[in-house]
Every structure is written in structure tokens, then in C-alpha cells.
Symmetry: C2
Subunit: 281 residues, 2 copies
Amino acid sequence: MTRALDTLLPIDEGPEGRLMDAVRYAALSGGKRVRPYLTLHTAALFNVDAKCALRVAAAVEMVHCYSLVHDDLPAMDDDDLRRGLPTCHIQYDEATAILAGDALLTRAFEVLSEDGTHQDANVRIELVKELAKASGPLGMVGGQMLDLVAHHHNLDVNEIARLQRMKTGGLINFACVSGAILGKASESALHKLHSYAHDLGLAFQIVDDLLDATADASAVGKRTGKDEEQGKATFVSLMGIENAQAQAGLLRDQAIEQLDVFGEAADPLRDMAHFVVNRVS
Amino acid sequence: MTRALDTLLPIDEGPEGRLMDAVRYAALSGGKRVRPYLTLHTAALFNVDAKCALRVAAAVEMVHCYSLVHDDLPAMDDDDLRRGLPTCHIQYDEATAILAGDALLTRAFEVLSEDGTHQDANVRIELVKELAKASGPLGMVGGQMLDLVAHHHNLDVNEIARLQRMKTGGLINFACVSGAILGKASESALHKLHSYAHDLGLAFQIVDDLLDATADASAVGKRTGKDEEQGKATFVSLMGIENAQAQAGLLRDQAIEQLDVFGEAADPLRDMAHFVVNRVS
């Protein structure tokens, strides 16, 4: 995965090369790579050419990394640690970080649009459309706005779930269905992967909230205890730790059930559901 | 044009509605609408359906407005006046402005990818690819980075021209060729419009530098005298006012010459070349 990103985000030797340095810093510095893993392993269910799947997986990760770079900015969450390293605006500067995020988002759409992603233009345009929907005002960007206004409102569990579906659920859903789009999968297979992605995404966010409440920064690689400090409503503050843990386990089992129709080929997706709930960072 | 943007960027009544308010503030508050004009009138050369051309013109303007919102941020050019109104981060706040820019960029790609833009998926994916190239690291975002590092370097006229081609030329070029892509124009027609866009874009930037050096803020609708204040190399500082004026006139005439093959149908594009050089704001 890192090699694909390395190739698709080349070093720029020009005087503006600082931009691509920051882009590469943001995209190549590790991370769990959950979203590209989902794209690669849903694509594998439909025997998609690995080179095509790798390009789409890289595009998904670019959008994820852009959202982290912008979310970490001083005007947003004001974080200085990410994946155990200084955030992009600390390592470079705010202006460079804003532009690096912009560049990652733009490059993601460019990668999807290029011939190497799929020979059929209909498939490529479908990917562009779905990615834009997942990351636009009704998806990730809207979710981030909701997260910012949530500081001043007392959201209930349903509103928190909606926030999560927009902010992180949309891109996780795209990661799962992009493999199916590449493979021109049936409507029913697509529907199963939608449901898997929905439950996985919700479990992922609940565990994120649990980690923020219970783990320490050195284990997670980013600042923890933020939610409580900011008096922010989360799944944990609304449900309590035990109920949140039980709910995450339930969602994991539900996600795995959706995969029955794919047989053993879906084992990597089952593994991911376990990983998401058991992870400690 | 404003009506098309109004339709494509609908009000959001949800708690996150502040995002679309800011998006609409940034996109619907006037501006010269140079880029959508170019798309509409190059599309008209090839008898493109006006509804399709309007969608592409709106997408181009969204990308232009996103670039203004991000460029105006405190960490970038730190401007508080744009089109005679408070800039987006002054009217709302920095976080909202960052997200509004992100949303405009994402929505532009979504609009291009949707069926209404053109029935042929090959045309839509070509538009996505060209827009991404024009606004990515080798285009607009790269140009903005170059502009930031230029403060610490003494660029010569060739380097300033390269900066302009990237920062503003790419999107002006896309605006002109998008009409031709929609109309499946011949290679030679496309080439003429490329050349027209190149000369027009350069003339546009020279006149921008002239206005910054000679006009006052109330006429231009944004802060002026910035370039000299910041000791920034511009076409005017490098060539002098008279040479810059002469060069802009020469480029206008060259741009107009490229249009001969299109006959009277290209009159609106000729008018634009005159407007760009004669404008006082």
C-alpha cells in the first residue's frame, strides 16, 4: 500500500517541492490502512485486477489522510500528534498543511479518473461520483462540521450515530463498495457490503471513543482524553463503557454475518471486523 | 450562473447547515464569473446543450471559489476583504472556511461526475481528469505553494510566468477547453482554445498585478498594494508599469488571433479578451 502511494505521489524537485514533501509526509507515515485494506479485500471477492484495486485503495487513503491533515489544524481539532509523529502543520506549517490536504483530495480524484484505474469509463465515473458523495457536504465534510457544532449542543445517541455515519462511515462505506464497483458486482452483493461497512464503521467509532476514554496517548499515537476534557458527547459518555463495549461486539458479529454469502474468500474482511473491535490503538 | 450555483449548492436545514451557508456565501457573493463565462461561450462554439455547459461552468466556479476561500485564510494570504465583502473566515470562522473550501472542491467533482453533465461517461471522466490536473499539485495548488515560497526567493520573469500558469492559468485553461471537451471538438479546435486560454490567462495576471500596484481597494473590492508591501516580485515590479501594460495588450491581440477559425460565434470570447485587459477591478 505504501509503495502504491509512494508511486502515485511522486517527489517534486521544483521550488514548490515542499508541497509534495508535506503530501508524502501525511500519506506515507504509517497509519492502520484500514480503508485500503477494505478496498483490496472487497475487490478480491470479485477477482478484480490487483493493480486497479491498488490505485483505488490509494485514492481512498489519500482522502482519509487529507481529512486528518485538515482536522488536525489549529482552527479545527488543534492536534500536534498523529501516528506518534508531529502533525503536518507542526512538521511544516499551517499554510503548507492546508495545501497538502487540498492536494491529496484533488489527486485522489485524478487517480480515479485515469485510465489505469479501470478500462471502462463508466466504472471510473461511478467511483468518482461515490467518492465525492462520501466525502462531500452530506458525507465527511458535513460530518466534520456537525462535529464542530456538536461542541455547543447536547447530541443524543441517534445524533451521534448520524455524525459518525457522515464523518467516518461514508469513506469506510466507499472503501467497501469501491471493490464491488470495480468488480461490477450484483446489487445483492453490493447491498451486503453496504451493510457490512455500516456495522463496521459504527463499531470502529465506538472503539475510537472507548480508546479516547481509557487508553493513554503513547499506546494510541495521538492525544487521548480529549472528548471528556471538551465535555463532548460520545458513545461512551452516553452509553457507559460496558454498554459501549457490548454494542461494539454486537456490531462486529452483525458485520460478519453479512459476509456469509462470500464464503472463505471473505476471511480477510472477517479478520478486519475482529481487528477493529479488539485493537488497542 | 448564480442561479445554477444556487441550485447545485442547496441550503442544508440540518444542524450542520452552517457549512452550506458558508459554501453559498463563498460561491454566490458575486465575482466577475470570468471562468464560467469562458466555459459557456466555448461550449456554444460547438452547440453544446446549455444545461450541460451550465453545470460544468458552475463546477469551474466552485473550484475557483474554493481556492479563494483557502487563499484568504490567516495562514495563507490573510485577507479580510473579497469582492467588497468580509472574506469567508471573517464572516464565519476559520474552521468553517476550511471546510467550506473542501466542500466546494468535492462538490465540483461530484457535479462533473453526475449524469446530467453529459450522457457519455467518457466525456465526464475526461472533464474530471482535466479539472483534477488543473487544480492539483502541478496546477493550482502547486502554484499557490510556489507563491508562498516565492516570498523568500527572487523569481525572474520566466519563473513568475510559470507560477501564474500553475496558479491561475490552469483553471482558466480548463474553463476554455471544457467547452470543447463537452462538444467533442477536433484536436485543432482544442489547440486553438488552449492557446487562447494561455494568452488570456497571462494577460489576466499582468492586469491583476497592475491593479494591485495602481488602483485602490474600494475600486478593486480587495486589499491593494500588497505585492509591493510584501516586497513580492510581480510582472509589474520586474517589467515596470508601461512594459506590463504593453505586454498585456500584446497578449490580448494574440489571444484574439487564435479565434479566427471560429468566426463570429467567438465574439463573446473576443469581448472577454478586451474586458480582461481593460477592467478596472
